[in-house]
Amino acid sequence: MSLTQRQLLLAAAHGEKLDKLPFGARIDLWYNYNKAHDTLPEKYKGWEQTAIIRDQGAGAQSRFHTVVKDKYEGLEVIEKNNPPYVETEYITPIGSVSRRTLFTTAEGPWIGYDTEKMFKSEKDYPIIEYILQHTTPVLDPGFDKARSAVGEDGIMMTGAGRASPAQRIMRDLMGFDKFFYELADHPTKVESLFEVMKDMVRRQHKVAIESDLEIYYIGSNWSDDVHTPVFKKFFIPWFQEISEFLHSHGKLAMAHADGENRRLLPFFKDTGIDIWEAWTPIPMTSVTNKELREAVGEKGVIWGGIPSILFEPTYSDEQFDQYIIDMFKEIAPGYNFIIGMGDNLPFDGDIERLGRIVELIDEHGKFPISV
């Protein structure tokens, strides 16, 4: 009996030998944009995205924000809806902080961007630490619903939040510029906040591990902009700790690695991360598939390899085919590789190219791939 797409992707994620390259596709940006603008291809009008991926013959990557929800105790959270912004104020016994989030469909689905970060100055450290200490994670029941919607067509791409603790501080709470200024000016306070954030994320993972999710994001969307000493100090030990925790429960650790990572590649093998997803090589970054393979070793599972711009009309069908065939040769013999896009089908991408990848896998992607 043949394996379902879900079984195939999970087997590949666990490093099991298959008969050909598996393919897990992500199309939510394309789907949400075109559905909202009523520009889905005639054939797919009224279809769900998983069904479209199934029709193209690929496995589905189904994104879900996080399997845990945060509840707060000992503070008041007031949300004001002021479209397109949501303003949130956190009132604690030791002071208040606020943030302003812009909601936009620029990336397809509704996504919030903090246009005003929660951390504004040194006085905010104890307040934010208080909020983190009074955050209680609970399982989000929406996860099970989303998971059953995907069924055997693919796997859920989520975790206990996608970002690592350091990223939550540098990207979500402070913003990059301020994080690095704070690290230079108030290193002890940044490190204290980091410890408190880690405790909170550990609690999230302890709750999330009870879900039946098999693969957990533990980091996402970082790049060389993360200073190497910062990566070594704040990222690697955390990745090691949480990977060991996941492994001890029979789960896998995954990173969403679609940024420019040339300078950080030498440290990837030290992280304990099992799967490098949304992997985006040249020309969207400066790194080749071969270089990533060398960096993560033979056992590291790479998921991706096709830069999203290859799906754009600026690349002809012939150029697309040639890229895919060349990529198969580059990754030969091809084990521990899941074909995917870095990181999404663009809004004006050609959905039929998913089916073309499936055809090319059948023609050229059977194991072991020979050059």
Binding site: A106, D225, M284
Partner: protein, 215 residues
């Protein structure tokens, strides 16, 4: 070590307080503020850009160096004579319509400003019309366009077309960048140049200016 070298080293090492102290000492010893800026601060930021591009420096090194330079500029700028701030040229920069990502654009602006350009940062989610208006108003030498999403990438081409329609395309060089943008794409949409990061953007802007001046 001379004050000149010490100030340069303080900027490169991102030592903000020291930079301000040394700039003040040089002023007190009679050095003109214009000279401190054009002969020490801007060349020091060039060095930072080169170290970033070569892989020796990382983003935070550049951020701290730029902040250190700004500490000195805060003291020097009010003392500039009528010739004003020494600049290489004017760069208008912004993230295109529909795109509110600012990190990459801010990094590029910091680098380009650091090496001596006057940067007019329009911000994020900028319409074609606003870009055209700013290029005209500022008589810009270079227009920097950033897109971080495949959904907003086509807006770069739209701005370039709008420059043509407004009849000012030949008056301004266009440099583009952002996560999904590639060199091939830059050529495809008719940009003059592409930059992968802030260090490269600063170098390319100087090349574009030279090309523009050469006619």
């Amino acid at each position: 070590m001379s004050d000149h070298s010490l100030l340069s080293q303080a900027v490169i090492e991102g030592k903000g307080d020291q930079t301000a102290e040394l700039a003040t000492a040089m002023l007190n010893s009679g050095t003109k503020p214009q000279d401190i800026i054009s002969q020490i601060l801007q060349p020091s930021m060039n060095t930072v850009g080169e170290k970033f591009s070569s892989g020796e420096f990382f983003l935070p090194d550049m951020l701290l160096a730029a902040r250190a330079m700004n500490n000195a500029l805060a003291i020097l700028k009010p003392l500039l004579d009528s010739s004003g701030m020494p600049t290489l040229g004017k760069v208008v920069i912004g993230t295109v319509k529909g795109d509110i990502h600012d990190i990459g654009k801010n990094i590029v602006a910091t680098f380009v400003r650091g090496v001596g350009f006057e940067v007019i940062d329009l911000g994020e989610d900028i319409t074609d019309e606003k870009f055209i208006e700013a290029v005209k108003e500022n008589n810009a030498d270079i227009l920097g366009l950033c897109a971080m999403l495949t959904t907003t990438m086509p807006s770069i081409g739209s701005v370039i077309k709008a420059l043509e329609t407004a009849g000012i395309r030949s008056k301004v060089k266009v440099i583009v960048g952002g996560a999904p943008v590639t060199k091939d794409y830059a050529v495809h949409i008719g940009a003059d140049a592409y930059a992968h990061d802030g260090g490269e953007a600063a170098r390319v802007c100087k090349e574009l200016l030279t090309a523009k001046e050469a006619g």
